[in-house]
Structure formats: structure tokens, C-alpha cells
């Protein structure tokens, strides 16, 4: 069954993915000589860094999720002016270039900031506080959107029943919503944990000194400054090992998840509001707005300056925009195809004797790329292509593929819950009627299109925001918007760089809503 012909394309997709990810690792591990690793293991600084990263990443993930849960509930149940704008902003916070986000946060919380002039005291920005501030800014919006997706899986009937019984928001949350949310939380926690555990520009800039660091700083140093591939592969393995331990622990801690059969989705019925519900909704909205909006206002501020309009006249801006789109769209589509392949195999394996574990492994294999630093993945691929004699002239396709692989975890997070739900719902029917392959997709399309659109949109956005991969392979025709931005900032033109950042963010907004409109259809709640 699992090897039947209609699943062949899916196998191909998964195989391509595994080959790319595996080959990159193998290429790099080829340079490893574990005999030296004892020396590295003894380095006390590495362990201090690991401890610090662990703390800051756990706190960032917990804080993001704790804030995101009430926020998502509020956004689902209430309609208010600006809700749609807020949701769009949430979609793009992740791709704001780090330096731009940091400068935005500095305008709000730094020495001469709005915060200081408002309260008269300065905010203790540099240190753990600043790191959490920035990481929650990047990731809490992502968490809200992922959780809102889970809301879409709750069947109409349950809302109707709750409404008829006159349940309060708190009861609805405890009896219905939590039941659906909790399945998403472990994966979401891991996603944010890994993003915070590895990325390092934020940690270095706002960390206040080398006490705050991540393993990737050492990996970057080993790869770029020392060209010590052995050390780089040791450090990457260490990172993969630690992240895997965390992943194991998270999945062990949570009870086994049972998939529900649910019917029809996305309806919204009015729940009985109580004073408590009002208070929680209002409170979480205020906290989130205060956290997210001021830096965004600071980031968008250049739009009112004449420099912004001058920047729009630069032909280089439009060239780099074109290069960005030319990379991001195909790589988003590839990421979606690989994601759908994994999904197709996983759903075929799920609920089969002995297949459940495999389905999960398949799903989690997508997360592996998050554990491996992007620079390592890109370097490994570079070496692999060199070894098999593919020249850097094909850099365009390499960049497209690497970006596609890097976006996979986000695509999977967006589509898997919906796909599993469809499988559970129609499995027996499909088997009786022998509905396979594309026929299933056609039948399910109206149900899954919003999740598919969401996955594609995230992949495209991530690729638009990428810098590490494209910088390593950099060549003619690959000067993307983020590269243009860093070029400007790298030659004193910070203000103009900020203008380019606005263009990048607007582009993200446009593509995100276009993809969601065209593919997601009208029934999108988020």
C-alpha cells in the first residue's frame, strides 16, 4: 500500500529532500576527525554557552507561547478594527531582517528611546532582557498564527453545542480549545526553541558581551575565520545532539496525541462573554500590542522621510527585488512540494499497524534542518557540489533548493494537522471507493487550501528574508534585497538601509496576502 504507484511522486519528493539534507551533512562530516573532539569537549566556554543558550531559548519559547495562547483565543472570538492588519503584521515579524528589528527595538527601548523619555528610567536592554524582548518579537506572532490554525480544526458542531449550552469562554477554552491547541504546542515550542537556540545576530547585539552567545557563533568562527571544518562539524553535531535531546524530552513529556475526526471548520459562533474573558482578552491584546507595535512603528517610520522616496528611484533596489522574488517563489513552491510529499507518506503510514512511529519520524525529519545551522548546511552543499563537479555557475538553483529545504519545518507545521485530519476523516471512505493520488487532493482541496496557502506563504517569506545561504553562494544575479540592505548598512548608509527594509517588509506583506487570497480562498479565518 505504502509502495503503491500513486505514492511514487511522494517518495521522490522525500528522497530529494533526504539526499540534499543528508549529503550536506555527509560532505561536512567527511572533514571530521573525532579524535580531536576530546579537546573541544573539555572547553568550559562551550558549556557555558550551551547552558546560556538553553535558558534563553526555553524562556523565549515559553514566553512566546504563553502570550500567544490568550492572544489567539481573543483573535478567534472577537472582531475589531485593525484585527486583519494585526494578523498581517504577525505574518511578517519573522522575516524582518535582524539588524532592522534590533534597531527598531533600540529606538523603543534603548538609551535615547521612547521608553526612556516616557518613564524617565532606561530599560535594561542589553542582556537576557533584550534577547527575550527581541526573540518574543520575532516568534510570538508566529506562535499566534500557528495556534490560530489549530482553531480552524475545531468542528462546527462543538461550537454550536457550546453556544447552546451557554458555556463561558473559560469553559470553552478548557473543554474544547485546549484539547486542540495542546497537540500543536510541543511542535511549536520546539520550532521556537531551535530558532532561538541557533540564531546569533540578536544574541550578540543585545546580549551585552560574549557571556551571551550561542553555539553558532563558534560554528561561524570555525567556518569563516579558521576554516576548521573539523571543529565546525563537531560543533554542529553537538547542536544537533542537544536539540534532539530537547525534542525527545518534549515529545516524551506530552501525552500521546489522538487525532480527532472533525467535520467542517472555521465557523465562528458567539460565545458567552464574561468579565473575566473581557479582562483576559483585553489584557493579552494590550501586552501583545505593546510588545509588537512600537518596534514596527519604528521600523516603518522611514516611510515618511523623503529619503524613502529617493530610495524607490534606485534601479538597484528594483533589481534586487526582482532577484529576491526570482529565488523566493520557486523555492517556496519546492518547499511546498516536498512538504506535501512528506505529508502524503506520513498520512499513508499513520493509523497503520507499526506505521504510526514512522509517520512521526518522517514528520520530525523535517525539523532536522532547523537543528543544523544554515551556514553548515550551505557549506556542506557547496562542498558536495564541488566534489561532484557542479560549478558555482549553477548557484541560482543551489540557493533555491537550500532555501526550500530550510523552509520545510514551517511548511510542515502549517499543513500537517489539516492533512492528518482529512486522512482520519475520510480514510475508510477512500479505501472503499479506491480514491487515490490526485483524486484525493481534488476532493480535499476546499478543506486544505488555506493550510497549503499558509505553508507556501511562509516558505516564500523565509526565502525572501534569507541572507546566510545567498551570501555564501553569492554571485552575479543573486544580489537579493536583504543583501542590498546589508550592503547599504555596511557602507554607513543606515538610514537608506532602513528604507530598503520597509520595501522588503511591504513586499512580504503583498506576497503573503496574494498567496493567501489566490490559493487560500475566501474562507480563510487568518
Amino acid at each position: 500500500m505504502i509502495f503503491s504507484s500513486h505514492l511514487r511522486p511522494a517518495w521522490l519528493g522525500v528522497a530529494v529532500y533526504l539526499v540534499i539534507a543528508g549529503a550536506a551533512l555527509v560532505a561536512l562530516l567527511g572533514y571530521a576527525s573525532p579524535s580531536d573532539w576530546g579537546r573541544y569537549l573539555a572547553d568550559p566556554y562551550t558549556w557555558r554557552v550551551v547552558r546560556f543558550s538553553f535558558t534563553q531559548a526555553s524562556l523565549s519559547a515559553l514566553l512566546s507561547i504563553l502570550l500567544a495562547i490568550p492572544m489567539a483565543s481573543c483573535l478567534f472570538h472577537r472582531r475589531f478594527i485593525g484585527r486583519q492588519t494585526l494578523l498581517s503584521l504577525f505574518a511578517i515579524s519573522m522575516v524582518v531582517p535582524t539588524i532592522v528589528a534590533i534597531l527598531g527595538i533600540v529606538v523603543v527601548y534603548g538609551r535615547n528611546s521612547w521608553f526612556t523619555s516616557l518613564f524617565g528610567v532606561s530599560f535594561p536592554l542589553y542582556g537576557l532582557g533584550g534577547i527575550l524582548l527581541a526573540h518574543v518579537f520575532f516568534n510570538m506572532p508566529l506562535a499566534v498564527r500557528v495556534i490560530l490554525q489549530a482553531y480552524q480544526l475545531i468542528p462546527d458542531a462543538q461550537w454550536r453545542l457550546a453556544s447552546q449550552l451557554g458555556l463561558s469562554r473559560w469553559h470553552v477554552f478548557r473543554l474544547i480549545e485546549w484539547h486542540y491547541l495542546k497537540k500543536n504546542l510541543p511542535g511549536l515550542f520546539l520550532l521556537i526553541f531551535m530558532l532561538c537556540f541557533s540564531g546569533f545576530a540578536v544574541v550578540l547585539s543585545l546580549g551585552g558581551g560574549p557571556r551571551s552567545s550561542t553555539l553558532e557563533v563558534a560554528i561561524y568562527q570555525a567556518l569563516r575565520f579558521e576554516f576548521d571544518l573539523n571543529k565546525a562539524s563537531y560543533l554542529s553535531l553537538l547542536q544537533v545532539f542537544i536539540c534532539s535531546l530537547v525534542a525527545l524530552a518534549v515529545y516524551k513529556l506530552v501525552p500521546a496525541i489522538r487525532q480527532d475526526v472533525s467535520l467542517y471548520q472555521g465557523a465562528r459562533l458567539l460565545m458567552r462573554s464574561s468579565r473575566l474573558a473581557m479582562l483576559v482578552d483585553f489584557g493579552s491584546l494590550i501586552i501583545v500590542l505593546l510588545w509588537i507595535l512600537p518596534p514596527f512603528i519604528a521600523i516603518f517610520a522611514p516611510i515618511v522621510t523623503p529619503l524613502f522616496w529617493q530610495t524607490l528611484w534606485q534601479s538597484d533596489l528594483w533589481w534586487s527585488l526582482w532577484h529576491s522574488v526570482r529565488i523566493a517563489l520557486p523555492s517556496g513552491v519546492l518547499a511546498l512540494l516536498i512538504g506535501l510529499s512528506i505529508a502524503a507518506l506520513a498520512r499513508a503510514l499513520r493509523w497503520r499497524r507499526g506505521g504510526d512511529g514512522w509517520a512521526q519520524k518522517l514528520e520530525q525529519s523535517g525539523n532536522l534542518v532547523l537543528m543544523v545551522p544554515s551556514l553548515v548546511l550551505a557549506t556542506g552543499l557547496f562542498l558536495m557540489f564541488r566534489n561532484i563537479g557542479i560549478s558555482i555557475k549553477h548557484a541560482y538553483w543551489i540557493v533555491v533548493w537550500v532555501n526550500a529545504v530550510m523552509a520545510l519545518p514551517f511548511v510542515l507545521r502549517a499543513i500537517m494537522p489539516t492533512v492528518y485530519q482529512q486522512e482520519k476523516r475520510f480514510r475508510h471512505l477512500y479505501e472503499q471507493m479506491n480514491v487515490v493520488g490526485l483524486a484525493r487532493l481534488r476532493m480535499e482541496w476546499s478543506q486544505i487550501r488555506s493550510a497549503v496557502a499558509q505553508g507556501l506563504a511562509y516558505a516564500v517569506l523565509l526565502s525572501l528574508g534569507d541572507l546566510g545561504v545567498v551570501a555564501l553562494f553569492g554571485s552575479k544575479g543573486l544580489e537579493t534585497l536583504p543583501m542590498y540592505l546589508y550592503q547599504l548598512i555596511g557602507s554607513y548608509r543606515v538610514e537608506q538601509g532602513a528604507c530598503v527594509a520597509v520595501v522588503l517588509i511591504l513586499l512580504c506583506l503583498v506576497l503573503f496576502s496574494l498567496i493567501n487570497r489566490l490559493i487560500g480562498g475566501r474562507r480563510v479565518v487568518v
Binding site: 545576530a201 569563516r224 557547496f382 546589508y486 554607513y492
Partner: protein, 330 residues
Amino acid sequence: MSFKSFALATTALLATSLVSAETLTVYTYDAFASEWGPGPKIKTNFEAQCGCELNFVALDSSVGILSRVQLEGEASEADVLLGLDLNVMEAAKQTGLLEKHSVDTSNVTTPGGWNDDNFVPFDQGYFAFIYDSEKLATAPTSLKDVVENQDLKVIYQDPRTSTPGLGLLLWMKAVYGDQAADAWAKLASHTVTVTKGWYDGYSLFLKGEADVVLSYTTSPAYHIVAEGEHKYKAAEASEGFYPQIEVAAVLENAPNKALAEQFMQFILEPGFQNVVATGNWMYPVMANVDPLPEAFTSQPQPTKVLTLDAEQVAQNRQAWINEWLEATTH
């Protein structure tokens, strides 16, 4: 048209297309190749004399150039590497991928003259702490002032990830020697943050996050020439400045070696040297150039230049970085 003339015409066409297809590929860092950097002018000037095409491949940093070549190995398509600096020269030599040059560097104005088989310098500057003279009443006049004044908020770059950061590491070593660890600890107690790259640190400084930031003596010249802003100044350093010299080299397997050699000669000619000051915001390395704008000549000129031996740097860099880490994280 007879067959013969047709053949001739085709050959002529082919020949011209071959000649015009002769391209020189130069790996450099992004700011150098950007439209406002020195790249475009240098391209025009060089193409006018060589009748070839000069192609810049922009990588993310000067270290990025080296690691790209290390990754590509002998298969690299680059002819010339433009934009490595003093501190990665030794590492670049150890790759064994470099060719010796035949450029006469006897007139080069770098401190102590220039004598290197592989590298030709193309511009120079000095690391310095930049301050805003409207905000800082008493400016530091030495590295010691910066290190010891506990009220001075300092931003510098990480020596593990950035070139100026590494420059400061060597500057501290040259000034403090065995006492460097103590000095780092003193500096750490009033350091705002240590950033990944030059641009993060410098833009945080421009937002007012620190009193001084590590950059180059020539940074104020940018603000004067490009923005008409005179408030940013480079702090004097009575112990002496640590130099930053940017260099170029030819690859041994350069696809177009003759052109590469021609370009190396060109580096020290006015067509190149006249562009670096207001293009790259660095000083030229030759004396026979157009007079520099006043913004450059008004900056602190080093009375003394500190340098550490390149080999010593290569051998001890990791140990010094560890010393810095120990001193600043305890």
C-alpha cells in the same frame, strides 16, 4: 558573398567576440562593489585601458572572500581577490592557492613600507574609537582612556566574527601585552555590547546607544563629505594606532592570469588610488594621487603606528581570543 569572405567575416566576428569575452573576475566584498563604492569607477577606469570586461563578485565580507576561495579550492573562477586584510593574509597564504605578484611596491606608503610576495596593498586606515562631539564633553585621547573610564559606554565588535573586532584584539595586545587580560576585564565592565559585525555596532552607535564605537579614523570623513555632518570625530590614541591595510592577490589557478597581473599593476596606479578615499572611505597607499578632501586630512594622523608581526598574530590569535573570552565572561 563568396564562401571565403563569409568565412573571413565569421572568423573576424568570432575573434572580436572572443576578445570582448575576455573577462577578469574579481572577488571582493559587497560595499566595495556597490554602486556607491569604488567598484564601478575602478571598473570603468580599468576597462578603458585593458579592453576587457571586469566582473566583480560581491561577497558578504572580507572574510567571506577568503572562505569562498577556501571552499572552491583550485576550481575557483576568481582571478583576483580584492579586499583581504592584514590579519587574514597569513591564513590566505596557508591555503596554498595564491600566486606571487610582480608589482613594484617600493613606493607604497603603508607604515614601515611594503614587502610581500603574494599581496599588494590597495588602501589603508587605522582603527579608532568614534565619538559624537556634541554629546561627549571630554573625548578620550588614548586607548587607555577608553579602557579605564568606567563612565564611558563602549560598543565594539566580536573578534571571532568581525575584522575591526580582531583589529581591537591586536591593538589591545600591542598596547597592553601581558596585561591585556586585565585591560579587557576593565573594558568589559562598561561595555554596552559586543556586536557580530561592524555595521551592527556602528548603527547602534548612530542610534545613540554608546559614547564611543570601534571603527576607523576615516569614518568621520564619510559623515562630513556625504552628509555634511561634522559632529562625529575619531578619538586620538597617544599610544599609537593599529593599522588596517586592505590587500589584493592573484590566484595560482586564475583563468586569466595575464589580465590579473595587469590588474595588480593597476591597483597602485592613479586610476585606482584616486577612487579609494571617497569610494571606500580609506586612505590611498600611494603618494602620487590627487589631493585628499579636507575631511580626510583633518582627521587625527597617527604619530605612532603599532603593528604585530603577521606570523605571531597567526600563531597566537586563538590564544588571544581565548584570553579575551576568559577576561570578559568572568
